[in-house]
């Protein structure tokens, strides 16, 4: 299992190098193709983990609202603020991914 995972990882992360090895000019770097790959993977990890965190937060908030419907408005406000703060972490990753894709500070 672990060996096949390592193999798959090597294949995935080594692929742009293999695919572009023929085309890369002398002195050309592989940072460009790798950064595209990294941007996509970073966003995937960030979105998945952010969804886990937000799911926990929303679950607790809905639980609390069901127990105490009178406080629903205040709980909802607190939940939305919390969700915004959790989501901002994924947004940071999105910004980094966009910098990698569009600005390309390192070629």
């Amino acid at each position: 299992m672990r060996r096949s995972l390592i193999l798959a990882g090597l294949l995935v992360f080594g692929f742009p190098g293999l695919a572009l090895a023929a085309e890369a000019p002398a002195g050309g770097s592989l940072v460009g193709p790798y950064s595209v790959l990294v941007a996509g993977f970073a966003m995937a990890f960030a979105a998945g983990l952010c969804a886990l965190g937000q799911g926990r937060a929303v679950a607790s908030a809905v639980d609390a609202m069901a127990r105490q419907p009178g406080a629903a408005a205040r709980i909802q406000t607190a939940m939305i603020i919390g969700l915004a703060l959790i989501e901002s972490l994924a947004i940071y990753v999105l910004v980094v991914a966009m910098i990698l894709l569009f600005v390309q500070p390192i070629k």
């Binding site: 205040r74 406000t77 939305i80 603020i81 915004a84 703060l85 989501e87 901002s88 947004i91 940071y92 999105l94 910004v95 966009m98 569009f102």
Partner: protein, 259 residues
């Protein structure tokens, strides 16, 4: 960003798009405010009624978060909220560009918030009392607390900036990529090409895609626009509330009495 997103139709030469559309948002807001307040009546009608509802919502939020004395900060909070809301919504109009999809606009808003809440805190509590908050509850912990507090305060404008910018720009890129993946250009071109099969397939396909966009993605983006404006305003109010609070103990007590 021009790779995937079409530049807006109306552009002023030599002036960046986000500045142009910031002026457009300012013009719209000023025009609405002028039209509503030109003829103020005791029993409001039409536009004045709408704006009074909006202001009352803001006031209620301020009462909930800061307390009754927070009403004097209504101009700052409501202006930020309405500007960000209209900026977000303007990005959804085809052919226009939203000012909040640019990092500079959101950074300007966040810096206004940053300086405003520090100024309010300094004015309200005096420099010594306000700066004492940075040292934490126990003087012995000051060497530890001061760097932590400084970093947390400096991270606030950064996170405000990036949250608004990232949400708006991410939504735009999503929209652009879905248009690109759907091949909407191709479908419409096919429909306009003239051949019968092209008209049927391209026309129906294009209509389905447009219906999907208008029916699903646009409501989602409108929701996100309102939510992000709300969150920006809410965090601004929380920062102001933290700045005007007279220390932990009193603040908690006052809040308990208030509710």
């Amino acid at each position: 960003m021009e790779i995937i997103e079409h530049p807006p139709i109306f552009r002023l030469p030599g002036i960046p798009d986000h500045v142009t559309y910031t002026w457009v948002v300012m013009l719209i807001l000023t025009a609405i405010a002028f039209a509503a307040s030109r003829n103020v009546r005791l029993v409001p009608r039409g536009l004045q009624n709408v704006l009074e509802v909006v202001i009352e919502q803001f006031l209620q939020l301020i009462d909930d978060v800061i307390g009754h004395e927070g009403r004097r900060y209504l101009p700052l909070i409501a202006t930020l909220g309405l500007f960000i809301l209209f900026g977000n919504l303007m990005g959804l109009v085809p052919g226009l560009s939203g000012p909040t999809t640019n990092l500079n606009t959101t950074a300007a808003c966040a810096l206004v918030t940053f300086f405003a809440y520090h100024y309010i805190g300094l004015r309200k509590q005096g420099a010594v009392t306000y700066l004492k908050h940075f040292m934490g509850p126990v003087p012995a912990l000051a060497p530890l607390m001061v760097p932590i507090e400084l970093i947390s305060h400096l991270a606030r404008p950064l996170s405000l900036t990036l949250r608004l910018f990232g949400n708006m720009t991410g939504g735009h890129i999503l929209l652009a990529i879905i248009f690109f993946l759907m091949g909407l250009d191709g479908l419409i071109g096919w429909a306009l090409g003239g051949s019968p099969a092209g008209v049927i397939v391209g026309g129906i396909g294009g209509l389905v895609m447009v219906a999907f966009t208008v029916g699903f993605l646009y409501p989602l983006k409108i929701l996100v626009s309102f939510l992000q404006a709300f969150i920006f305003v809410m965090l601004t109010m929380l920062y102001i509330a933290a700045a005007v609070e007279e220390g932990e103990h009193h603040g908690a007590q006052r809040r308990a009495e208030h509710h």
